[in-house]
């Protein structure tokens, strides 16, 4: 991390990145809602080479009972990477990193979902990363939000997510795995586009105050692009392309 010498050219003189994108371009994103029959809600996202499946159960009874809250429903999130999702087999037990990502995704979704309508219940979000290529937490968050809407959980707004970062001294949108490894900073952002509120913001790396502001702006713009794709995924399923 931080100014390590890169063996590959991360950004050439024409402003083209290592995978052929421009600095303000996201990878190809496709989302499909309602892909699982047995879950109450589900979504599948392909975010560049990331492939993530999300299933939702709930609202339903809380087990163990002592976890339930008489005032509100609770949200439980499990982010899990398949052993085959990375180049070297990952042990399937939850790692420290997965526990952290589960927690940040839960906290990024909580401002949007209105679980106070369902006291004494739980909504379970299961995120399975089938293939990882940098930026899985953002992709997972975007898919989880589509799956929650598909499950009919009341939400104040969708949560869109996208990362931005600093690569070769330039602020870029949607950092991929190579840029994350060799770049200088990585900033995942979760954003509610209609309420204009940020629900997730992490930063790994060093940025000056100016760069930080620019990085947030670039990331938020990326979230707005992701939001359009989320919208399309839901209207494809529910309105048969005929939205508005």
């Amino acid at each position: 991390m931080g100014g390590r010498e890169a063996t590959m050219v991360l950004l050439d003189e024409n402003g083209i990145r290592c995978d052929g994108r421009k600095i303000d371009e996201t990878r190809k994103i496709t989302i499909k809602a309602g892909v699982l029959k047995n879950a109450d809600g589900s979504a599948y996202i392909e975010f560049g080479d990331n492939k993530i499946l999300v299933g939702i159960f709930g609202p339903r009874d809380v087990h163990p009972k002592h976890m339930s809250d008489t005032d509100t429903g609770i949200l439980r999130v499990r982010y899990h990477m398949e052993p085959f999702s990375v180049t070297e087999r990952k042990r399937p037990a939850p790692s420290r990193r997965e526990i952290e990502i589960s927690k940040v995704i839960k906290e990024a979704l909580e401002p949007a979902v209105m679980l106070e309508k369902f006291p004494r219940t739980a909504v379970d979000v299961f995120i399975e990363v089938l293939q990882a290529d940098g930026g899985t937490r953002c992709a997972a968050l975007a898919a989880a939000s589509v799956a929650l809407a598909d499950a009919g959980i009341p939400m104040r707004d969708m949560v869109a997510a996208c990362a931005s970062g600093k690569v070769a001294d330039t602020i870029v949108l949607d950092v991929n795995n190579e840029e994350d490894q060799a770049g200088q900073a990585d900033m995942p952002i979760g954003y509610m586009p209609n309420l204009e509120k940020i629900t997730l913001l992490q930063l790994d790396g060093v940025l000056t105050p100016e760069e930080y502001k620019k990085c947030v702006d670039v990331g938020v713009n990326g979230c707005k692009l992701v939001y359009e794709i989320q919208k399309k995924a839901l209207s494809d399923k529910y309105f048969g392309n005929g939205k508005d």
Partner: protein, 226 residues
């Protein structure tokens, strides 16, 4: 007042102005925002979104179909296809002079029995209280259970009951629709039963299609000839 319907997803602006927010909408500042995937309905003074997805949430006075899952010496517990279990007190069935010593609950309703019931009381602090002491309520002795998505129940009923009346007339079946998405069909003839079942499943799958009533009618009539 223009009553234009619009498709919305969570976070979408439904309208602004002095409206009363009803189902599936929330007031954020001056904006009324949808909280669900659905179709907007704007009335003279209120706004609501008809949700196209989601689990059944009990509402007082709803007719539901429940399945007995267990009983204690004082009450039954019913699965009503919701996140909460229905609570049916024994007094409701045995009457005022119910005695926990003398009366055996399983003599009236056993685990696995289907019951047509009404939500008598429900609030966020308690599980829904249900009652069967009313006309047309109580244990269901015969019929076939079909499970559909609770959000599609209004579609199955249709405008002023048009859809369900049509299915009933075409098949000679008696259909009891629970608001929780469970439907019981009873019919003298097996063909009518199968046809009614098929029609109901068709409504469940094609709820978003515009002229569904005609399509269902066509299906009912075409099968009748063969």
């Amino acid at each position: 007042m223009e009553n234009k319907r619009k498709y919305v997803i969570p976070g979408d602006l439904v309208t602004t102005g002095p409206f009363r927010p009803e189902q599936n909408v929330v007031l954020e500042g001056k904006k009324i925002i949808s909280t669900s995937i659905g179709i907007t309905e704007i009335y003279d003074d209120s706004v609501r979104v008809i949700s196209l997805t989601g689990k059944y949430i009990p509402k007082i006075d709803d007719l539901v179909i429940g399945k007995v899952i267990s009983h204690t010496s004082l009450s039954w517990e019913l699965d009503i296809n919701s996140c909460y279990a229905g609570f049916l007190p024994a007094q409701d069935v045995f009457g005022r002079d119910f005695s926990a010593h003398a009366d055996e609950l399983s003599s009236k309703l056993k685990t696995g029995d289907l019951v047509a019931a009404r939500i008598a009381n429900f609030d966020r602090t308690r599980d829904p209280l249900i009652t069967i002491s009313d006309r047309d309520l109580g244990k269901i002795d015969s019929g076939s259970l079909v499970k559909i998505s609770p959000s599609k129940v209004p579609r199955l009923i249709g405008k002023r009951g048009s859809m369900i009346q049509m299915i009933e007339q075409a098949t000679n079946a008696a259909v009891t629709i629970g608001q929780n998405g469970w439907v019981v069909i009873s019919c003298e003839s097996p063909e009518g039963l199968l046809k009614a079942k098929k029609a109901i499943q068709m409504v469940n799958e094609k709820a978003h299609v515009a002229n569904l009533t005609d399509q269902v009618k066509e299906m009912l009539e075409s099968k009748g000839e063969s």
